[in-house]
């Protein structure tokens, strides 16, 4: 009964710190979240699973069989056919308490490229809804994931980390200011009409920019997003023409390859009379040719580069991050205690059932020899036996339920009780 072995929490992933954008591109699960989840759930030994894929990270969380085989299966699943010679070097792997700690850290935005940004919590919630809809979550993840949301909220309300919420879009604004001075009257072009494009606009909209144009492969989507910013929409073939009149370009399409090359831009820059053009590429895989940055008066930043900008004022938040780490650690301990109790529960149940069965058995044996026993007396005997049983199990239950002590000690407790009462037949104590 391999699938009934003890549940193991295992987390495998990559993020912006462990892998450059080139590697992350390879595992961005473009196949569609539902298909990926189904494939993930189909791995042998998997009982619950959860997938989070954003442009900065991919996290695969698993509850099921532990051990190296599971981790290998997950790595193979993440990289698929794209597994390069040493793709596994970019992965991190956490188990049990460390996995819980990592998840809470991610949810609280402490592991984000931009520490304290709020986008990750929304992405986590969406991924949870998806996993729940696909029937991938069970008892453990149904507690762990909602718990991670409350941890994130606690971190947000008890530390100053969210106060000066800085995001990629904020970093983009700071950079744009170093290029253009003020952003007032500047024109912004969005390539791609996805959620990232919208998020990137949040800070820009406060900068009194002149107009927003949305260019998208599907014109209807472009129109929909442009409507929200009171901007214009255009189809993808118009891209080069539109580039002549804008100042800031934010690209976030789901295209598999580059959509703008250096040689496309050279004549555009000439027609612009070299007015500076600032490109922000937040798509993974990248949309814009990295060589664009070599052109004069053209500045190209991808999301890794933007992370470097935010690094500049990261120091201020470092202190708050320490406070936040303490909260995460505390909540991890609480969760692991809950896990331990869950592990104890079978022992507690078994203890109760064991004593109750003995009582019922002995009562039946005794009453069989006493046909004259009245109903009321029978009930009294039952009550007496229940009281005896309760008194016998009281002390062992208290012993099991005591919350102090580390995890291994609690496991020992369960073991001691099981041996004393001889629950495990093959155990030498019986």
């Amino acid at each position: 009964m391999a699938t009934d072995g003890p549940d193991h929490i295992l987390l495998v992933g990559v993020n912006h710190k462990t892998a450059p954008v080139g590697i992350r591109e390879k595992i961005a699960l473009a196949a569609g979240a539902d298909d990926s989840l189904t494939a993930f759930k189909g791995l042998p030994g998997c009982r619950e699973c959860f997938l989070l894929s954003t442009c900065n990270r991919v996290e695969a969380l698993w509850v099921g069989d532990g051990g190296d085989q599971a981790a290998r299966d997950m790595t193979a699943f993440l990289f698929g056919d794209n597994l390069t010679e040493n793709g596994a070097d970019y992965l991190y792997r956490y188990e049990e308490a460390a996995a819980v700690h990592h998840l809470f850290t991610v949810a609280s935005s402490l592991d984000s490229m931009v520490v304290g940004e709020a986008q990750i919590l929304g992405q986590l919630k969406a991924a949870y809804r998806q996993a729940a809809a696909a029937g991938c979550v069970g008892a453990i993840l149904n507690r762990l994931l909602p718990k991670s949301f409350t941890v994130a909220k606690r971190v947000r309300s008890e530390t100053g980390i969210g106060l000066s919420t800085v995001s990629i879009s904020y970093a983009a604004v700071e950079l744009a200011k170093k290029i253009f001075g003020s952003l007032q009257g500047k024109n912004v072009l969005l390539i791609g009409a996805g959620e990232m494009a919208e998020l990137a606009m949040t800070h820009l909209l406060n900068q009194k920019i002149a107009a927003v144009t949305v260019v998208n492969r599907t014109l209807a989507h472009a129109k929909e997003l442009a409507g929200r910013f009171h901007g214009q929409a255009a189809a993808l073939p118009e891209l080069l023409a539109r580039l002549e009149t804008v100042d800031i370009v934010i690209s976030s399409t789901g295209a598999a390859g580059l959509i703008l090359l250096k040689e496309n831009l050279v004549p555009v820059m000439r027609r612009r009379r070299n007015r500076p053009l600032f490109f922000i590429d937040i798509a993974v895989p990248r949309d814009l040719d990295p060589a664009l940055n070599e052109l004069e008066n053209t500045y190209l930043y991808d999301i890794d580069d933007l992370g470097g900008v935010v690094e500049v004022n990261r120091g201020e938040r470092e202190k708050e991050a320490v406070k936040a780490q303490l909260i995460v650690t505390e909540e991890t301990e609480k969760f692991m205690a809950w896990r331990q109790n869950l592990a104890l529960n079978p022992t507690i149940l078994q203890l109760r059932r064991h004593v109750e069965e003995i009582c019922a058995h002995e009562l039946a044996k005794t009453t069989a020899k006493m046909p004259e026993l009245s109903e009321t007396n029978h009930a009294s005997l039952e009550r007496m036996l229940a009281a005896v049983a309760g008194k016998i199990v009281h002390a062992p239950l208290q012993y099991l339920k005591q919350q102090d002590g580390a995890g291994s000690e609690r496991e020992n407790k369960a073991d001691v009780v099981r041996r004393v009462f001889g629950f495990d037949d093959e155990s030498p104590a019986s």
Binding site: K177, K178, F180, G181, R270, N274, R275, N293, D305, V312
Partner: protein, 275 residues
């Protein structure tokens, strides 16, 4: 009188160096209290330079542009006042640090030349010579501001293109501000330079009866004028801006300094407008 102007020059140099040091410390520490001090020192420095030039004027009875020392002091003074008036209209972050260092260097250079009063030659006592020299040096002062802005632009551009945000990223202004400074200084400087050349030509006509000679001074002025004409032309026709314009501002200024040295030194104390 000589002693008095000598002491005044020492004061001018000391205050200019002090201003540069104050701006430099402000640049490193970014403490806004210090900026106020540095700005006041810059004003004092500008006033002292004017006083020094006026002292020499009253002693000479003519515009004090008779020797390299006076010319370089005038250059520094024009740069200081160009900066002060520029600052009044535009705000370019930490521009003062660069300009104050340039002014201090110019005044230190002036200290190397002899400050003795040479009797003003009769031919320089015409109206057009001081006008010509003053206009040309004022033009150079604007080009020197463009030079400072160009240096700052190149430093900031390197941070932005290289994507590692080091020491200068937060301390230097936006590329746009520096490019505007460039075009502003280039336009004013070019107008002044053109007027300087025209007045020089009028002076030549007054003294020698010709508008143009192929002397080393005339050739170097024409060279500088051409260098800036090309910049201006390219900027307004094909849109040379940004890094290229900044680099040109730096090169143009280097050409100015080189030709000034060439013209000034062989003639010794005879003055840049001798002959």
């Amino acid at each position: 009188m000589e002693q008095m102007t000598g002491a005044l020059f020492d004061a001018v140099l000391a205050v200019a160096v002090l201003t540069a040091v104050a701006y430099l410390i402000f640049f490193i520490r970014q403490n806004s209290g210090l900026r106020h001090v540095a700005r006041m020192l810059m004003m004092v420095s500008g006033v002292l330079q004017l006083l020094y030039i006026f002292a020499r004027f009253s002693r000479l009875g003519a515009m004090p542009l008779t020797n390299p020392h006076e010319a370089v002091v005038f250059f520094a003074c024009a740069a200081t006042w160009a900066y002060l008036t520029f600052r009044w209209r535009y705000k370019v972050k930490n521009f003062g640090a660069f300009v104050s260092i340039l002014v201090a260097l110019l005044l230190a250079l002036a200290a190397l030349f002899s400050a003795t009063f040479s009797p003003a030659p009769a031919i320089s006592k015409t109206l057009w010579l001081p006008v010509h020299a003053g206009l040309s040096l004022a033009a150079y002062s604007f080009f020197s501001l463009a030079f400072c802005g160009g240096l700052m632009y190149l430093l900031q551009e390197r941070e932005l293109k290289g994507k590692h945000f080091g020491y200068f990223f937060s301390r230097l202004p936006s590329l746009d501000a520096l490019d505007q400074l460039n075009s502003h200084c280039l336009a004013i400087g070019f107008i002044l330079l053109t007027m300087g050349i025209v007045s020089g030509s009028l002076w030549l006509w007054q003294v020698h009866g010709v508008y143009w000679r192929w002397g080393e001074k005339e050739v170097s002025s024409a060279l500088i004028w051409l260098v800036y004409l090309v910049q201006l032309h390219q900027r307004f026709t094909v849109g040379w801006r940004g890094k290229r314009a900044a680099a040109m501002a730096v090169i143009g200024f280097v050409v100015i300094v080189l030709t000034l040295m060439l013209v000034v030194t062989p003639s010794g104390g005879a003055g840049i407008h001798g002959n």
